[in-house]
Amino acid sequence: MKSKKILIVDDNDLNRKLFENLIAQFYTYESAVNGLEAIDYLTKESFDLILMDIQMPELDGFAALRKIQQDELTESPVIAITAYAGESDRNNFLKMGFSHFIIKPIRPKELLEVIRIHLYPTIDHYITSNSTEISDILLDISVISQLMKYNSKEAIKGVFRDFISDTSILLENAELALNQKNEQKLIENLHTLKGNSGTLGANSIYLLAKTTDANIRDKNWIQLKESLEKLKKEKLIFEKYIEEELIFKL
């Protein structure tokens, strides 16, 4: 999963932490607090993308980019983060050699989207934007191995059994809510299902729950009924899988 590495360059502790927080969910990263430190990193390691604040002490973002270009330190995209809002010089940034620029305040979704587009330029981002790197598999084993750090196999299996019975209840409630056209109740139930399945790496259920959630928001009742049926089937498949999966039997 986390095969791409990003260099975060920002002198503001709080901003840097927030960037790290966001980026760590999808990529590995290193952080530098100014342009000099960034240059230092780039001479030693290679990165797939650089996120560069413009106003920094020591060596600012403009100067750092010039240095990167002069010494040919990387060919990876450099994305500028700037507080200068409403600039007429979008083109200036691009002319200077930044691949993109993002104006503060940062919107997490926008930031991640921009990063993704630059890291995976060949992937049509409209198709994948709703499923950021979540593959449609029954169970993401990497999630299990993470959980195993903190739990016994028995405990994890117990959690999955709870998840399955919880899912049954949530889906029943959702069907009831659909019959009553109770949008709020529908949203609540699907939200919990999305959170649970995502956290447990039950990807196929998670992706279906996302579609269902979208159906509710679009008030597409016919599609919604179908989506709920699909979810019920997927739940049964998942249940069988958990009972048979070897990983829990070892």
């Binding site: 993470q146 903190y150 919880d166 999305k194 959170g195």
Partner: protein, 125 residues
């Protein structure tokens, strides 16, 4: 009194409560769960905690309103506790908005428990 750090978790999913509990127990943190924002406020009034993890989407009283109310509490120890938001919809807020509401940080759902533990540890060491 034990010196184990105590964490209050506002979260309505029992699955996530259970998993979070075992992850936090790994570092010997004690955890109590509240199923909605009102219960968070009740527990916080009765007991002392060192940190709060707050889901944004909870019935009765959501995480945003609840956090604003905690920040307005008279007791400075309680009103200044670190509060970490847990949310499946990061795009609903900018980072500045998160900070203005009173959150110290946020963690995205689906939860990455390594990340969760690292973030919590950061505030409690």
């Amino acid at each position: 009194m034990s010196d184990a750090k105590k964490i209050l978790v506002g979260e309505d999913s029992s699955i996530i409560i259970n998993l979070t509990k075992s992850v936090l127990a790994f570092e010997n943190y004690e955890m109590k769960a509240a199923r909605n924002g009102e219960k968070v406020l009740e527990l916080l009034e009765k007991e002392d905690f060192d940190l709060i993890l707050m889901d944004l989407n909870m019935p009765v009283l959501g995480g945003v309103e609840c956090t604003k109310m905690i920040r307005a509490l008279a007791n400075p120890i309680k009103s200044n506790l670190p509060i970490i938001a847990i949310t499946g919809n990061i795009n609903n807020y900018t980072m500045d908005e998160f900070r203005k509401i009173g959150f110290n940080e946020f963690i995205q759902k689906p939860l990455d428990f390594d990340k969760l533990l690292a973030t919590v540890k950061n505030y409690l060491c």
